[in-house]
Symmetry: D2
Subunit: 346 residues, 4 copies
């Protein structure tokens, strides 16, 4: 029995990445991929890497047809999925939303950061925040899964063991994160030109980035109190890959070994979180194209700081891979189904 | 006495490059830089590298004010300058056009390749093709200079000695050229995103590129008969730099040394053409940021082929630097004035 | 029944690429990977992308143990495999050599280009040149397969249909090829530093490259006479990917369509050669990580030239993927076994 | 009157950068450049960008000849200059050391981090730490100037105003810094290959980097007590450029404007420190090739954090440009002499 799949908004990088991964997923049956702009075009005209692997044309969104799918992925920009979500939910279709529309429970907070009125606030409550390493059981039962953003994924996987164990000061968490340019999506812009982003490095949104409130909300649920997080994202002159360098203050004397153990214990059954040996420095290329998060823990000498290094592929564990991981959970498949590739190094 | 300068269309890469170079030109006085889209903004808001060097705001184009300049540079997309050229020419203002509008004498050919009717065909004849190494004397007297495209510059500097000396078959010239992404300009597009162009290589326009007809026309004037040229451009995942690999058939037995001599003699008085020692392979980085073309000549064993390797910075000798070189000639300044920098390696 | 596999020289880029691909090959059993320099180290210490996929340590080469494998891959630098080949051949082990040692039948020619005496010239004759699209039947029976170089693969796949059909002048073939830096291997050098190769482009070996003689020898066998080929390789500032732009003169009037047909017919049963629709420009990223060669054919107007654009991943179809393709043929497996991935775009 | 200059160790990136900048310095007379490995070669054989600008050959180090220079730059790896420093100091020659040998006053601390016994600890005291923005007067009188490392330069320029004004908690300073690959120098290595560093991002030395103790020592002198600094460096897949993102806790309520004012006041007379307007995000490309540090100050909402973003060109303000700035001060020249270029953007 195959899972019948629809994808809304398939011309962006998370769309083509869903296609790349689902094309090799043994239980996936790609039925529909929509795009208003490219309706009628074969997917391989836009993405020649799919030749021989995906035989599908973009179509205009048809929510009746989409409702007939077992699951619909939204790979749309933010503030898009919310306008058509109700139809699918009413029809009983399961939905995995890669966008930001249902990630934040506090709708006022969401509206403040996304600068638009939410179109269906009544559905926010039913949405499960799709970080499997945190909410696996709820995801299994969910009709609507809101996949975390790429930065929130890299950050939370690095912070969860520390917060859950109560060993760091949750009022002073700092994350300095870096992303390849594909994180900004595949839409015409000057800022995203290689002439603007190549061979250069910069911070952006240093005073506040949209991925901050969802991370704080989720981590605060874990901590059972409001956490304080400072977050600065940066743009790296590469296509794929994301790194988060996390700084926290230990609230009690910790030996290196015990922190290493803490992380290894926390993630020992997680198929997609890989705690590297002590002293390691994870590289984004080691997880290129795969759903793995690699972590390393460092403690500078004579210091109460702990530094966690976290790398993911922003388009896989940070987006489409995580979405498929959630689909696997929702449809009771082994979680690694279709996600067992090896990172493309070099 | 300073030269009063206006720039039309200053928000693209050739615009900011004119500013970068003219800011250090001892005879240049930057008076006007126009941009409809950014009128009112200080140039340093768009280009923070100019802070402390250029104190100017973008303004809406005002052709009366521009006419009062000693020289006006057009750094506009093609099919733009031609609409306002007549006003400046009538006013007696000297104009250096970096765009394609006046490069081709055969107006029908131009219209065919640029797919628009020419707005002032009567001015084409007065335009001098601004390759100083070929037309220095005419440039000195010109009111309107049409600067060559970047590819045509790299190609012609590599081919001129061979064609002038009559040692190659002009009916079978081949150029395989490669450009950094800044050659495509600074305009919003999907194709120019780093997500589309980074970490990848491709040919484009293999069946015909707009820089072909101007090159053929100019080289045919040199040869005094119609030449045949096959030209394939490619996109390199880097910001700046252009390389042309030129293949031609020697029509008579040539010793390596004699070709080397031929090139060295041809360019011995040229300040911006540097013939490298035998056996060299020029790198684009050696001319990064400067107006130099570096050339090397190779002859494979047991072959009648000659291979010429030609590198330039597409934004300098391929555009703004060459334009300033022409200005220096037009205003009887030493040709290297303001253009004597050292390439930024690494 | 699994195929027991040994790899000699596993610390280079073709070595790790063999591991990446074989880790997911359903019939492959990785038994031995040798490295004198890294003996004792776990492969994942060097290549963390293999964590969870390959559980193997580098060992010193032991030819008795290697002989017990069903097949041994040599992923060594040139002039290395030849010193230990005899032992394996005598033991009856099948060998797939990714290096240059057995590619050229004319041993004097080989010695001239590789500048060393061949250590076992008597084995050259038994070696089959491992371009499956040309020599599939011989590969199936071979004990020793010499895999083509990366450039020769990209070139020959683009030239074969033209030469076999006799429609081009074989005395004037030109290939302008471009490679990512991984083609130079994973050995300490100044020339390979990112500080030397990043954000720059250059030709190299313009007077003659080692991949030329093997290509000429193979194509001359196809043509049944000596062909003339001019070949200039270039270095692209990216890690993976190779493009060849091929220029040839048509010997008779050909319509575009007929050339397109010629290529499509020639490759219609080839699983790894993909002829793109007319007008296409293949990008290296479309075949990143996969064993596919994508081709496009162009004919400039008013010209007797044909231009073929050919892209491969230099480490896959140009090396390790092609080697596994040959293994599949030798062991009578479906040719795409373990090689059916989707290119990593973007 | 020209300044007669010698350079020891001229084949690295800081060496060629000294040559690039000094070639255009109106008071500089390049007399000697040493390299044991390349003695006899013309500098333009290694660095073709210098053709037409520098006419000099590498020579073996001759300390008598070097002593006759007005100033000698050491562009050597660490633990090299210290072996020959005494001879030059005794001869009365002024020395500007770009290496780490004389940066740290606490010789035990230096020996611990650099893992070698210091060869002339008696000269450490006379060395002036060459951060002009901090020690201008002492530099003017110094015989021996120890130029700061690249990271320490980017960090200190961002931290000085805060520490001097006493507005941050000096016991909890955090710097997350990122460097282009040229920072690792121009020496053969596997780790520096583009195949290893291209299209990937990673932290390194997260538990402790050699640039940490010199920064702490210098900042502690400013603070007049021992500061605590956590520092994690990262490698960016680009050639040039460095960014430091600095996190500190404000010890008192500060308005954005007042911090902006604080920085602008502190640096209002500094020719090479440029405080960007509020809300800016400095890019490394804006200072490519020039001696400028661009800074921006951010305060996240509802937070006592201040975030300072600091960019430099690691080879200019982070090395060779800063060294020439120090030379200008030592020889009583206007500080910007030869250093007034415009950043190469794009």
């Amino acid at each position: 029995m195959k899972i019948k799949i629809g994808i809304v908004g398939g011309t962006g990088y998370t769309g083509v990445e869903l296609l790349r991964l689902l094309a090799k997923h043994p239980q996936a049956q790609l039925d529909i991929i929509t795009s208003r702009g490219e309706a009628g075009k074969h997917v391989t005209e836009l993405f020649p890497n799919l030749r021989g692997h995906v035989d599908l044309r973009f179509s205009n969104p048809d929510y009746d047809a989409l409702s007939a799918c077992d699951v619909v992925f939204f790979a749309t920009p933010h503030a898009t999925a919310m306008y058509s979500m109700a139809k699918l939910i009413e029809a009983g279709t399961r939905v995995i939303d890669l966008s930001a529309d249902f990630r934040i429970k506090d709708v006022k907070l969401w509206e403040q950061w996304y600068n638009v009125e939410h179109a269906c606030p009544e559905l926010i409550d039913m949405a499960v925040y799709g970080l499997a390493e945190l909410n696996r059981k709820q995801i299994a039962q969910a009709q609507l899964v809101a996949c975390p953003g790429c930065y929130p994924t890299a950050m939370q996987l690095g912070l969860l063991p520390l917060i859950e164990a109560g060993v760091v000061d949750t009022q002073d968490l700092i994350v300095d994160a870096k992303s390849g340019v594909s994180g900004a999506g595949r839409k015409a812009s000057v800022a995203g030109l290689m002439g603007e982003t190549g061979e250069s490095f910069k911070a952006y949104a240093a005073s506040g980035h949209r991925h901050l409130p969802e991370t704080i909300e989720s981590l605060s649920r874990v901590a059972q109190h409001q956490v304080q997080l400072t977050f600065v994202p940066h743009l790296v002159p590469m296509v794929r890959g994301m790194e988060a360098t996390i700084f926290a203050n230990l609230t009690q004397q910790q030996k290196n070994q015990s922190l290493q153990d803490l992380f290894e214990q926390r993630y020992k059954d997680e198929p997609f979180v890989d705690v590297l040996p002590q002293g390691s420095h994870p590289e984004t290329r080691s997880v290129r194209g795969v759903n793995t998060c690699q972590l390393a823990i460092h403690q500078p000498k004579n210091s109460s700081k702990v530094i966690v290094l976290s790398v993911i592929d922003n388009l896989v564990k940070g987006a489409s891979g995580q979405a498929i991981q959630n689909m696997n959970i929702m449809f009771d498949l082994p979680e690694t189904t279709g996600l067992d590739g090896v990172g493309l190094l070099p």
